[in-house]
């Protein structure tokens, strides 16, 4: 694995990523370390009180100024990290997955003193790896986040759902089935439309991966509305539905026409090349 400036670098393996995250695990500074500057200031004040030299009163003031400079520098440092994280997130949004991944990878070792910021970097790593179809490595990143986040954290349901999708992509169908069953309740309880849409997409993808095409079609009512919160990415779901019709292939039910209809919907939202890149099996659709 190479993650330097060489444009030929490849995404890390799951083992390399787990090792990277283990080596640079963020640990928040202890409460005593956080109070250390204050204690130092207090010590200087006491020293000034106990030292009957006229200039000794400069000590606490000097300490106060040093503390102010230290605090300002710390705030500026955190802002610089936040800017770099924002930039990495923007790269991910713009679908520049490799630069986003490289940026997040480099940030992880620098954020060992800032757990919350490191979590953001690891989340970017996981999402970029998933987009690059490095699903095992993405799972390692999401595992790490899930280890650190409390169970009731709003982001943990989304992370577990992403893990379930990764399991489906890598044919770990039993793991995916378990995860999706356990997620049904939390997704419904969250009431978040994007989460419900992603869950519906995962169920459709599960049906495709397990060749339950007829069931997917039977449960396809309201699919357009259900996937709508995904924006243009709903096109992936429409393409999977087209695949289901193509695979069931019942002439009396006009499956071929339905397949074409769903494929037209999918390609209205996303280019056919993107659909086939994400789901190589779809090459048979759309005239290829």
């Amino acid at each position: 694995m190479t993650l330097g400036n060489d444009p030929a670098w490849t995404p890390p393996t799951a083992e390399a990523l787990a090792d990277h995250l283990r080596r640079y695990r963020a640990t928040p500074p202890s409460p005593w370390a956080r109070r250390l500057p204050l204690l130092a200031l207090l010590g200087l004040t006491v020293a000034a009180l106990l030292t009957p030299v006229p200039g000794s009163w400069l000590l606490p003031w000097g300490g106060f100024v040093a503390l102010a400079i230290y605090g300002t520098r710390q705030v500026a440092k955190v802002r610089r990290f936040e800017k770099r994280l924002d930039r990495a997130r923007e790269l991910l949004s713009l679908r520049h997955h490799r630069p986003a991944l490289r940026s997040a990878w480099r940030l992880v070792p620098e954020l060992t003193q800032h757990p919350a910021l490191q979590h953001r970097a690891v989340a970017i790593l996981g999402q970029a790896l998933e987009e690059l179809r490095a699903y095992d490595a993405a799972a390692a990143a999401f595992d790490r986040l899930l280890d650190d986040l409390p169970d009731d954290h709003p982001g943990s349901v989304a992370l577990r759902l992403q893990q379930a999708l990764g399991a489906l992509f890598t044919q770990r169908l039993s793991d995916a089935d378990d995860a999706l069953r356990r997620l049904r309740g939390p997704v419904e309880a969250s009431g978040a439309p994007p989460l419900a849409a992603a869950y519906r997409f995962a169920l459709l993808f599960q049906a495709v991966q397990t060749a339950h095409y007829a069931e997917a079609i039977d449960e396809g009512d309201g699919l357009i509305e259900a996937l709508r919160p995904l924006g243009v990415e709903a096109g992936y779901g429409h393409a999977l539905m087209a695949w289901c019709y193509r695979q069931r292939n019942q002439p009396e039910a006009d499956d071929d026409e339905q397949a074409q209809r769903w494929w037209r919907r999918a390609t209205a939202l996303l280019p056919a090349a993107s659909l086939r890149h994400r789901f190589p099996d779809l090459r048979g659709l759309g005239g290829e």
């Binding site: 009163w57 924002d86 923007e90 509305e225 924006g231 037209r264 939202l269």
Partner: protein, 275 residues
């Protein structure tokens, strides 16, 4: 700087008092400056007379310093609570609003911390669709001098102000906010929101020809938006293409609109004259 527009004709009743907010900011500043001055005076006195002088003077000087430090730490504690407050406002708006009120009641907060709290209040009022109030708060924060670190939220406040004024049909006010937004560098997220607001403004003032300039790039940016916003911008661009005579773009975009927007969303946009 965004100038103060005339009040919109049908503004809802506003409970935010800009004059009171400015008075609080002025009191904070005056109080903190007074304490700072006293701290410097104490420093000079201690240098001149040393700790061997009057014990009362030493205690007073140390006391002034302690109050100054305590205020600094109170401000820092409030600042550290701001991210958690944002999360609480997302999860439980009522509890978040109660906590926000508590924090705003604190005395002698650093100016920029009070401005950050006002920013959170503006976001909350905007979510509650109390647009006159959110616009008034955003206007107050934006026109306050020396915002310090609170200046980082200026772009977000301008977006909020532009949207609130569009909701209130205050088009000149929205134009001022959008003009100010175009003068400053913004990140991707803000640029997407600015594009949506600008398109909405251009349709509202009857300039679909302006909305379709660079339509290909605008569609590419719209694709990066979350579902409902993505659908709304597609619908607005499709309507602009139709009105500006670009039927090819209208035909290309409308099937997307039907997939991205629900019937309710389309009806709402038609009702407000956007499409």
């Amino acid at each position: 700087m965004v100038s103060e527009p005339p009040p919109p004709p049908e503004a809802e009743s506003s409970v935010f008092d800009a004059r009171y907010a400015r008075r609080r900011l002025a009191l904070d500043t005056a109080g903190r400056r007074l304490l700072f001055g006293l701290s410097v005076a104490a420093f000079v006195a201690l240098l001149l007379f040393g700790p061997g002088g009057s014990p009362a003077a030493v205690v007073a000087a140390v006391g002034v310093l302690a109050v100054w430090l305590a205020l600094g730490f109170a401000g820092a504690r409030t600042m550290r609570e701001l991210p958690a407050l944002g999360g609480l406002l997302d999860r439980d708006p009522d509890a978040g609003e109660a906590r926000l009120d508590e924090l705003r009641r604190q005395k002698l907060l650093p100016r920029w911390v009070r401005l950050m709290l006002l920013h959170r209040l503006a976001v909350l009022r905007h979510r509650q669709q109390r647009f006159a109030e959110s616009a008034a708060i955003a206007q107050t924060v934006l026109t306050t001098a020396r915002p310090g670190p609170a200046a980082t939220h200026r772009g977000h406040l301008l977006l909020l102000l532009a949207e609130a004024r569009l909701e209130l049909r205050d088009l000149p006010g929205a134009w001022l906010a959008l003009t100010e937004l175009h003068r400053r560098p913004v990140g991707l997220h803000e640029a997407l929101q600015r594009l949506a607001l600008r398109t909405r403004y251009e349709l509202a003032v009857g300039r679909p020809d302006a909305a379709v300039v660079g339509i290909g790039q605008k569609v590419a940016l719209a694709e990066l938006m979350p579902g409902p916003q993505c659908g709304a911008l597609h619908a607005m661009l499709a309507a602009a293409a139709r009105d500006a005579g670009h039927d090819d773009w209208h035909r290309a975009l409308w099937p997307r609109v039907e997939l991205l927007c629900g019937a309710d969303q389309l009806a709402q946009m038609r009702g407000s004259g956007l499409i």
